[in-house]
Every structure is written in structure tokens, then in C-alpha cells.
Symmetry: C2
């Protein structure tokens, strides 16, 4: 018995532009079961370059694009490449998504932490970076700072960089001969884009006509897609010499190729349905409703958290998170110490136990000595009920450990 | 407009057991677009453990199974873990699939090469391994040999280890406190299984009741599947302490999870249709015909290559390759030297130019000084025409560069 190909079965039931896209990709790829080019399927890299050109208003070359198994695979590759057997320092923001510290540990690199400025809405402070560089220089060790990691929009902070700060960061990289690693995976998660728009570092570097070597990371795991299980993403090389790009190509070849289903996901990310195409209306309705829901939940949660005693919370303009600061009673700090834990870890564990809500304590992202935070995702529907449980728990926690 | 789910569209047109399997996996996984457990979906790891138990006759624990993005991702993880900042030596076969040398270079490990024995059908010689260990010990450097890589069935050689040699290899690892890394990705590619069966190292270690730490790798990229673009595979830990296994779990967590479509592929690999199920007949016909075609092509190509002047070729009992040895005329060696190339590279380039057939020169896999080989895959249909072109090219090459 023979079974008909999938496309023949669904072609009368699914939108014509979806079928046409699948057929175009199939003609190019052949089979998602076969290896592709180690940098990713050429046609999809061409589509990525078109997306970047249209986003930034500056050209992008498909040869500078590497498709990856999510942004994390790209970050690991770049850190691995940058770290030499000597003490290579990589400047990372604090708080930061722990991918960076974990990957640095894996490749024997040295994290050179710089603090983000909570009172300025978690903005990136040039002074903090300069202080971190100075500290690395004058410390007894022989650390060579080689790259600056910037996460924009921020994880876990949800902050967005303004254009002036971005210009200064590029200039700082020039002054200190640093490679700029721009983690821009949340670029489509903007809650108040008129007030806080996203600018790419690629656009900034090109506008300033800067020679700074830049690698920008993007992913299908965030945005309105969230297709994280497919493991798709890309990075773009900007001002990277051809021999270094060839070395990166050699290194990705060892792992054969990125997962094909992730590559196809990247094609969908960079080439959404166009106005007039049959699937556009459904795509737009879905996309708009996800953006609106995230913005509304983030706003509501920030307002309600800020109304709680001992909680202050930057109202994130982007990403998927809030990162509230907690003023915890001394009793909680001491109870946590007895358990060998940070007070925000105790808070998170009790919250999980009591409500089933899972948050990540600030100690997992790094924070200043004596401070306490946690990261809260804004993805969960039923936000009223959810925040109600958080409020009730928080007041109970203060009472349980409070000095009053 | 709403579109019906795929399963509703195809359920009357595809075999019932295929639909039932998809529904079972979907109930477990939810969505292939979401992250899974970092070690892989628990149900699929359970199926892998059942497959291993049935294959070997010894139990396997799902907690010892890690699903990976192809075997190469697992190999990279283990080499990364084994290599410390000191000079960690990893024993690798020569010739070898260059994944090993490339990954060792990436993580600053030291390759400790041991030669396979071509006159014994590319078998693994204990004496060669002992000689390599001795050489590493007495060299001026302070290399610490930590692991032994064995590729069985071999790539590029297609050799299969016999049980006696496997027992001795396990004992050697015991004596020298080596971790055994068993690359068994070609375990289903057996051309003469009655004469040359596959035994797993897991079975060998358990039968000998050996304490040797063993990691075995398998993949969906080979066998009769060849679903390499999905990036699926697994490794099993045997005699690995719980704290080391926990560390491996921590390390894979940094990359979030293996690609879901590769994980689903692993489930299909370890749980083929059973006799009596609707899709069994088609599966068996496909599988049998692929096995038979590979065996027949390998046999025919080996016989025809061996009939050529200056070519000798082990008739591989497994994997997807032949690895013929070439006696090349001095004229070719000199012409290659002038171009800064090895003579087998010159041979491969001219073969590609003249016939369109792409082979990998032996210098890419490692070989003894002055020897020449190339690796030929046995996957191509139309083998008569293909071998005819090879023969014609070879005779022309000898004439072009020959002393006669």
C-alpha cells in the first residue's frame, strides 16, 4: 500500500500561501531529514539577510548569516571561539540570563561582570562598564577583556536601550578593542514601542560607520512564536574578517548542521505572511492579540507589584519578564541563612510550595550584595488570579518573617 | 477562518498505528514547539532504555539516557567534560571520522592516536593502543590519557569488532583507568551479520561485570533511517557516578533541550512497527530493501576495486563505507607535492573534476606516512555505472602519472 504525500492531503484544506511556502522550501531543501549546509540553507539565509536589511535600512550579506540551534548554540560557539587558553575576560551584565556564566565556566573563560542600573529602569551604565574594565585590569590576574555582552531587550530585566546609550557602547567597544555580542532575541517583544522602540546594534554600528566587530543573535524561541523546541536561531557577523568567518564555518561544520525544523522556523520568523495573502488575517490577529496580552499583563502585574509593601518593580518595556526588587524582613534573611540559602531563594521556594507559581530568584541572575529580586514571566493567562495569589503570598511571607 | 488540526486531516489516510503513535507522543509532549526536559522527553528515554535492554539482555535505566542533537552533540559534550585545563589525552583510532580531532582541537584536548590494523581488516589492535599509551607517557609533555574512543562499526573503515577484542578493550580500560567512549552509530548497518554480528560495549561491560565507565552513542542519522537533518541521537551512561551524571545534566541544561523533531525520530528508531501492526509490512519492505542494497553495493564495489591495479580494499562488513588503499605512482606523489597537497587529495580532486564523484581522501582521516586511501560511500544507486566511471578514471590516472 502506498500513502499519499502530506502536501496532497492538506492542500485543499490549508491556505494557498502556506502550501506555496512549503513547496518553495521543499524544492530548495529536498528533505528536512537530510543534512543541510553547515551554516544553514542558503535560501533561508538569504531571507534572513533581507529581513535584516529591511529592519535596519543597511544591507546584510547572506554569507554573514549562520543559522543555529537556537541563540544559545550561537552564543556557545562565539564564546568558545573568543576564549583562548589565556584568561579571556567577557564583560557580562548583572543581572544576566545564566547562559553566559554557565557557558563561560564550560569554556574556562572569565566573567567580567558589570552592574545594570536599577534606578534608571535597568539601563546600561557606561561608567559601570568602565569600572569593571578597570577592576579587571588592576586585579592581580592577567585577564584580557575581549568581548562585551549586551542583552537588549534585557533578560531578566525587560529593559530597552536607548539610541544614545547604544552609540556610546559601540564607541566604548572601539576604544577598548572589544567584540560586541548583542543578544537581541527579544527584539519583537515590545510593550510600548512608541516610547521604547527597538534599535539593532547592526544598525547602530553601520550608522556610526564603526569598525567594531559585532555578532547579533536572534531566535525563534521568543517573540510571538515561542517555537523553542524546534531549536532555531541565527547570528549575523558584522565587521568580522573573512578568515574569522571561515573559522566559524569550520567550527559549525563539526556539528554537521542546525536542525532543519528550526531552520524552517527561522524562515517563518523572518518572512511572515504579507498583507493580501490568504493567511495574513489569521497571522495578524494571532500576533496582535499575543502582543496586546503581553503588554497588558506586564502593565497590570507591574502596577499591582508596586502597590505591595517592600516591592518595587521597573515596568518593563520589553521581553517577557518583570524583575521586582524585594525588601525582605531580617527574619527571612536569617531563616534563609540557616538553610544555607539566599533570602530570595527561600521566598521563591515558599511561593512555589504555597501557590504553584514558579519564579527564579535574583541570586540566579546575579545582584548586588544584600539585594533581593525575582524574575516573573508575563506569559501566563488568567493574570488576575495569578497576581492575587502572589499578593496574598507576599503579605503572608512578610507577616511570617516580619519584625512587626 | 479556522483550519483543522493535521491529525484530523490525515487520520483516515495513514495507517492506524502511525496515527496512534503520533497521538501517544503528542499527549506526552504537548507540542514539538515547546522546550522539553533538558535530557529529553521522559517517555522517549524510557523507550530507549527498553530498546537497549532488549538488544543487550541487560537492564537499562532511563535516567542514564540523554537525548542529543545527533551523536556529534553528545560526543562534544563528553569530550568537553573530560578535558580539564591540564593536558587531557583522548585515545582515538587512526583512521577516524574527523569529529574527534576537530572537537579535541576545539576544547584544547590532546589526541593520542592509535593505528587500526588494515591487514587484519581494520581491526583494533591492543598492541597499538598500548604503544600509543606508552608513547604519551614517555613523551616530554605531561599528557594524562583519560578516555578511549572506539568507533564500531568503523568510520571510515566499515570494520566490526569481534567479541574477544571487545573484552580485551574493556580490560585495557580497567587497567589504565580510561573512560570508554563507544561510537556505535552504525550498529544497524551490517552487511553480513551472521559472520560479523554487532555486539554493544554496554553488553560487554555488563557481561564482564566490569566497573569501566562507558558512554555509548547512537543516532538517527545512520542505519536505514538517515534522518540526519532532524538532529537526533542519544547516549547512555554506564558505570557513571550519580554526581557526574548530574553534572552532565547541568551542562546539557545550558543548551535548553535537544531538538524535538530529533527526539521524536529517536522514538521511531528504538520502537519500529511490530509484526501485525498496519504499517509493519511497508516498514519491513523498506528496511529489508535498504539493507540488501547496501550489502550488495558494498560487495560489488569491493570486488571491482580489488580487481584494479594498485588498489586493495577491505570488504567492509558494516557501516556505509569502503576505504580502499591506493598504490599511487611516484609521478602523482610529486605532482601533488608541487601543489602542496597529499597525493590522495590530488586523486580525489581529479576524480571529482572528471566524474562528479566525491570521495574523501585518506589524509582527512589520518593514515600512516606514505600511505594513500580514500573513503567511498556505498549509498549511491546505479552502482554499476558509478564503479565503471571510477575504474575508467583510475586507469587514466595511473597512465597520466605512471612511471611506465
Amino acid at each position: 500500500m502506498e500513502y499519499p504525500p502530506l502536501v496532497d492531503i492538506v492542500k485543499d484544506q490549508w491556505p494557498a500561501d502556506v502550501i506555496a511556502r512549503a513547496q518553495e522550501l521543499q524544492a530548495e531543501i529536498g528533505s528536512v531529514g537530510a543534512y543541510s549546509h553547515s551554516k544553514g540553507i542558503p535560501l533561508i539565509r538569504k531571507h534572513v539577510a533581507q529581513f535584516i536589511s529591511e529592519r535596519d535600512g543597511y544591507p546584510s550579506d547572506p554569507e554573514d548569516i549562520f543559522l543555529t540551534a537556537g541563540a544559545s548554540a550561537g552564543v556557545a560557539l562565539l564564546l568558545n571561539t573568543l576564549i583562548t587558553p589565556h584568561k579571556t575576560g567577557i564583560l557580562i551584565p548583572i543581572p544576566q540570563y545564566p547562559l553566559y556564566t554557565a557557558t563561560l565556566a564550560q569554556f574556562n573563560g572569565v566573567a567580567v561582570p558589570y552592574h545594570l542600573s536599577e534606578i534608571d529602569g535597568w539601563s546600561t551604565s557606561l561608567d559601570e562598564i568602565r569600572a569593571a574594565l578597570k577592576k579587571a585590569e588592576i586585579s592581580s590576574s592577567d585577564i584580557t577583556p575581549r568581548a562585551l555582552v549586551v542583552i537588549n531587550p534585557g533578560n531578566p530585566t525587560g529593559a530597552l536601550l536607548d539610541q544614545k546609550t547604544m552609540d556610546e557602547l559601540v564607541q566604548l567597544c572601539e576604544e577598548h578593542s572589544l567584540v560586541l555580542l548583542a543578544d537581541e532575541v527579544y527584539q519583537a517583544n515590545l510593550h510600548r514601542p512608541a516610547e521604547h522602540p527597538f534599535h539593532s546594534f547592526k544598525q547602530t554600528v553601520r550608522r556610526l560607520n564603526s569598525p567594531v566587530p559585532l555578532i547579533s543573535f536572534h531566535s525563534i524561541s521568543k517573540g510571538v512564536f515561542g517555537e523553542c523546541g524546534r531549536r532555531g536561531g541565527y547570528f549575523e557577523c558584522c565587521n568580522i574578517p573573512a578568515d574569522v568567518r571561515a573559522l566559524l564555518y569550520k567550527m559549525v561544520s563539526v556539528g554537521l548542521c542546525p536542525p532543519l525544523s528550526g531552520q524552517v522556523g527561522v524562515d517563518c520568523l523572518v518572512r511572515p505572511p504579507k498583507d493580501g495573502e490568504p493567511s495574513h488575517a489569521l497571522w495578524k490577529r494571532e500576533t496582535d492579540s499575543i502582543h496586546a496580552a503581553l503588554a497588558q499583563r506586564t502593565q497590570l502585574m507591574a502596577a499591582r507589584l508596586n502597590a505591595l509593601p517592600g516591592v518595587s518593580c521597573v515596568n518593563s518595556p520589553g521581553a517577557l519578564y518583570l524583575y521586582p526588587k524585594l525588601e525582605l524582613p531580617q527574619g527571612a534573611v536569617e531563616a534563609a541563612r540557616k538553610l544555607g540559602k539566599e533570602a530570595d531563594t527561600l521566598y521563591a521556594l515558599e511561593l512555589l510550595e504555597e501557590t504553584g507559581i514558579c519564579v527564579v530568584p535574583g541570586s540566579g541572575f546575579g545582584q548586588k550584595e544584600g539585594e533581593h529580586h525575582y524574575r516573573l514571566t508575563c506569559l501566563c493567562p488568567g493574570v488576575e488570579e495569578y497576581v492575587g495569589m502572589l499578593e496574598k503570598f507576599h503579605l503572608g511571607f512578610l507577616k511570617r518573617y516580619g519584625d512587626a
